[in-house]
Symmetry: C2
Amino acid sequence: MKKIIALFVVLCSMNTIAQSTSQHDSLTLRKLYDMSLLNGQSYAWLDHLSNNIGGRLSGSVNAQRAVEYTKAELEKLGLDRVWLQPVMVPKWTRGNPEYAYVQTPGGPSNTVNILALGGSVATPDTGLRAKVIEVQGIEDLARYGREQIEGKIVFFNRPMRADLIHTFEAYGGCVDQRYSGAAEAAKYGAAGVIVRSLSHKIDDYPHTGSMSYGDLPNDKRIPAAAISTKDAEYLSGMLKLNKDLDFYYKMNCRNFEDVESYNVIGEIKGSERPEEIIVVGGHLDSWDVGDGSHDDGAGVVQSMEVLRLFKETGIRPKRTIRVVLFMNEENGLRGGNKYAEIAGKNKENHIFALESDAGGFTPRGFSFDARDSQFEKIQSWKPHFEPYLIHYFARGSSGADIGPLKNGSTVLAGLRPDSQRYFDHHHAATDTFDAVNKRELELGAATMASLVYLVDKYGFDGIQNDPEILK
Amino acid sequence: MKKIIALFVVLCSMNTIAQSTSQHDSLTLRKLYDMSLLNGQSYAWLDHLSNNIGGRLSGSVNAQRAVEYTKAELEKLGLDRVWLQPVMVPKWTRGNPEYAYVQTPGGPSNTVNILALGGSVATPDTGLRAKVIEVQGIEDLARYGREQIEGKIVFFNRPMRADLIHTFEAYGGCVDQRYSGAAEAAKYGAAGVIVRSLSHKIDDYPHTGSMSYGDLPNDKRIPAAAISTKDAEYLSGMLKLNKDLDFYYKMNCRNFEDVESYNVIGEIKGSERPEEIIVVGGHLDSWDVGDGSHDDGAGVVQSMEVLRLFKETGIRPKRTIRVVLFMNEENGLRGGNKYAEIAGKNKENHIFALESDAGGFTPRGFSFDARDSQFEKIQSWKPHFEPYLIHYFARGSSGADIGPLKNGSTVLAGLRPDSQRYFDHHHAATDTFDAVNKRELELGAATMASLVYLVDKYGFDGIQNDPEILK
């Protein structure tokens, strides 16, 4: 009986400790949210990145200005260390003006809105004019064959599915047209490709994005452009009336030699386990159209804000918290690869990496690339997030830049904001500061800081040191 | 043993039935969402209401045009009945132009952005010019007393709290300044009031809204205007420099006799229990600035869409599903009161009413004004909504227009969209069609239709007929 009473007392006191720990965590999260919402810095940083600097394509002057600006801002935060990590990045330039029109035989011509895909070759100096064949995806190329494709412009027009609730899924179902469409169409002798913009919204703004020619020799490379969704609908309608129309476009893009750029890095050294590193980041580069506010200015300033919130609320992390502003996510992922390469060389131990690269919209939760036991631990923290309407904790991909850190033991995570509006802005002239809501941005930063706080406090011990994983 | 086996068989078959019922429900919800997202009508309706009609203040020509338009559109849906329910509404007009400026003694004058509050009296023809006293809320009036207030313009400047996650809570914490500020300040001899706009966003757009003089006699009524948040900050800053500045404003608003208007109603008769009524609605009137897209064009078209989705997907409801487009939510609630009055007179049995009046943003869930047992039943449906990221099922207020239906047995519910952006647009010139995202609007309509479908199918039997409730 005494034993039972003793056990009861122990259990009760454990329970009390657990409760007070949990209460302390709740209060800490509340402090982080309050600081972000009442006295946040993220929106002002984004204002500067977007409105004073603007689009930040890798290798551009603006990308370098963004490197210098964010480094200087991180230095003001009183971190333990701020540095630049050199990385060679591709340099591709658009070379405006670009233009395009549809010409019906003997009829009028109508201009349409296009935007060269990132990495595309230029059209000939006099532009490219050819007949058009509309397809609903790469699969269609084999069906039509060289006979029907050779010499023509292939018009990839499969739209994003509107019935999918997660818009990234709809994006995933179409992005192959943009990324590989030119390489594949070239194999059938196509003269060029035009790809329907990856957006649900029917409007006049074409959406650019990365593409690759794979191992196609230089002389086989054909120009590739995005066409606005509205003009894709128009072109498709015109083709139904007259298959013999001509499409003309002129693009002046150029690929240059790689140039040096930088990942921008800052860190707060851990007080107990400085060798265990937690990364939080976004990518500093953007496309050249719009000002890259959602993609990924938001992720950049939210990541910077995480460290500022730790400093301002007086949280001293046990582990090292590092912000990494990656260069060249959009057209090369060189920054992400370089960061992981150097981390490997230095035998650094990353226990966790979190990326925000899905827009600055109201945060809904996170997706995790983690082992079962790690994910279980994370899920036990979910109740702390309920007051902030953060409900989405799912397995899934994390972020492109932190992907190269994947090693089976590091937990990777991605912030998941509401995704409904994201592709209205993604890679287009509509990705601008005014499309970001201050509160939504700040809620995202606080949500990230909260997760980082819990990971720092509780870690993934016992999981991390599993010999099977360490090998 | 036989009994146990028999019981086991029964339980298994019940389980199978439950599973297949549940599967059927899941498929039905999927059909509703697909129809709304792939072939929805809500966005086109909103386009017309917002862009072809515009702001729809009660008693205005536009309000009447909206009545006629929505009635005609409902008639196209093949409902069992569509009708207008007459209701007398207040008629208040703004009478542009309105203007205001701050004048420092011997210094320059600077215009500021104001908007008369709905129901306010006009300033004198020559405008109102007076010294200003800034207060942080109605509580402050007693502290300053008649001595410091008499003859001055009271400037209510308590801002909405930024740390509250639910923005409606922050609104609730300030709206008394707008609604009762003039009536209260007049008791201390104030010459007029200026109220900080109810928005988190610092910008140039004043936000109007309803106010009341209570039982104040006509000759004691003082003019009341909203001032933009940016100009509230400016005025407050100027007052810190010089308490002796003058504020001048000129408003030409007028109150007229009540005029006749209508609630627009349509219904699908229930196939099994036509006498049990389920209402879904929003309010057709809006303020006169902007075009009332979020408040509450969105709720109107989503409610209409619920009935269309039932028709288009071939769902034959057991109970009567009625859409009600209420008139005069903004400045009188006459439509909501009239609807409940007539329902009472006709001894109609409303089992459920759902309102959408919190903007056309991504739906997060619902709040319910219901008894415990009713709420428990509703919560059992929550898993059906998970694929659509609908997670918020909470007790709380429903909607102003359906409020008068409250009787202790009717379940009242409000759609709860993401609220972060709502007050950037609410009652201001920024409440326009372009601020509504098509997908977000459509997701809201499908979410409402899904809940209505489940309520219709399962009802609240046993709860509704509780003798304690029926008395």
